[in-house]
């Protein structure tokens, strides 16, 4: 039987991965779209050739690994180029995800974790969406602690360039508040029960 497909998203630093890990510990298969995208950019022959064609051979090192700093320079502050890159990567991730779901027939539901679930419109094929929410200050503090190469101003810039959290909340079927005040695990368990009941 095809499992129910649940999306999980949230802005940078909201704690999507932490929440996904809690679901995973309950036995729910989790597809990390961002990690898979990075992986596909170095393993998917079609995608590699498309990226090289669009951004040049310098996009990859001689050992086949992705030249992240080169790509970053190309797309940073250039929304059009970023759109082109996303236009190449998202369809390949979509196909990879579809194959992955087919292999999870024994699960009642699966989780697709993606930062740009709404922005890339990939939430439309999913049955329900969980939004992980946290106050901006908490998110900034987390990211600065995690990514030490980023300054607070840069993180706030990234947040401003993402879809506002309010818009994500409006599209949510479930919300998990990860503000370091409210406990996450009981919220996850409650949603887990609700999704199991849907299956």
């Amino acid at each position: 039987m095809k499992p129910i497909e649940i999306g999980i998203t949230g802005g940078i630093g909201s704690g999507k991965s932490l929440v996904s890990k809690v679901f995973h510990s309950l036995g729910v298969p989790v597809y990390d779209a961002d990690s898979r995208a990075k992986n596909l950019m170095t393993t998917d022959g079609i995608l590699i050739s498309q990226i090289k064609k669009e951004f040049g051979a310098l996009s990859y090192y001689e050992d086949g690994s992705l030249n992240r700093s080169y790509i970053s320079v190309k797309v940073f502050n250039d929304p059009e180029r970023l759109k082109v890159l996303n236009g190449l990567v998202h369809p390949r991730v979509g196909e990879d995800y579809t194959k992955w779901v087919k292999e999870k027939n024994n699960s009642s539901y699966v989780l697709k974790e993606a930062a740009l679930l709404f922005e890339a419109n990939s939430y439309k094929g999913l049955n329900k969406v969980i939004v992980v929410s946290a106050p901006e200050d908490v998110r900034v503090e987390r990211v600065v602690k995690r990514d030490q190469h980023r300054t607070e101003a840069q993180v706030r810039d990234i947040i401003r360039n993402q879809m506002p959290e309010e818009q994500k909340l409006l599209k949510a079927d479930f919300v998990i508040v990860n503000d370091e005040v409210k406990m996450v695990v009981p919220q996850v368990l409650e949603i887990h029960q609700k999704i199991i009941a849907l299956a």
Partner: protein
Amino acid sequence: MLCFFAATVFWFFNALNKSYTTNISFPLHFDYNPENYVPVTALPKEVRINVSGIGWNLFRRSSGIKIPPLTIPLERPSELKKIVGSALPGFFSNQLEGLEINFVITDTLYINMQPKAGRWLRLSIDSVQQNLDRNFTLSSDVKVVPESVFVEGPMSIVTKLDEPTKLKINDQNIDANYRQDLKIDLAQGDLIKCNPSYVFVTFGVEKLVSVSDSIKLEILNAPAKSHLGMNLSKIPCTMGVPESLSKDFDPNRVKAVIDLKGFKRGNVKLLPQVMGLPEHSRVLKIDSVRIRY
């Protein structure tokens, strides 16, 4: 007595300074562009929230006096069907000064909004004959002024309105020339704005003169070599003819027609169709004819 009153006041103000937890219904306001979107069903009016705060703040809010509504911004409301209750604290946390949201009791707010659409709609009047006194008939065409109005409302409704849309006159037993304003009453009209909202309807009526006579009966498409089991060449008929035409009316120009096309052989009773009547005349009485073939 004075001591008791003073103690009560002291106790009341002291109690208002303590912290409590309670459920309060807050009015809601949805912030959207009304130029581009329109609600198809009424938007939720309030949301029930479990809050904590000092007694004075809770008292002020729960008393309902001058509570500013909680605002939910809707940028593209037509893409939304619902907002889950657990998403709401994210919108309200900055709007509830002095109160802390524990949880939202309202499970889901259902939203049904559509892009607003507008178009010109042609109007006509549904059959007027049924609104006239039985002794009267039309003596002119029915005029609607203006013939078209501009309608605005939810896209799915506005685009499906019939062209022309037929309006109904509510007046009955009309026996005089008609000149009335008619309110445009469309299906799901509470969601649609018409400009103008009234049209002016005019038509003339005239008294009918009853003429009873025998008129020629004609059978069409009778099967060859069939015997119709009847021997009628004329049947009685009572006709209503406008008074102005009655002097020149000749019943011999009128005929009753029965078309047997499509009927199986047997014993059938059919109502003849009267043809050749002057404009705005009508049949007041005619008997059906039994045919066996």
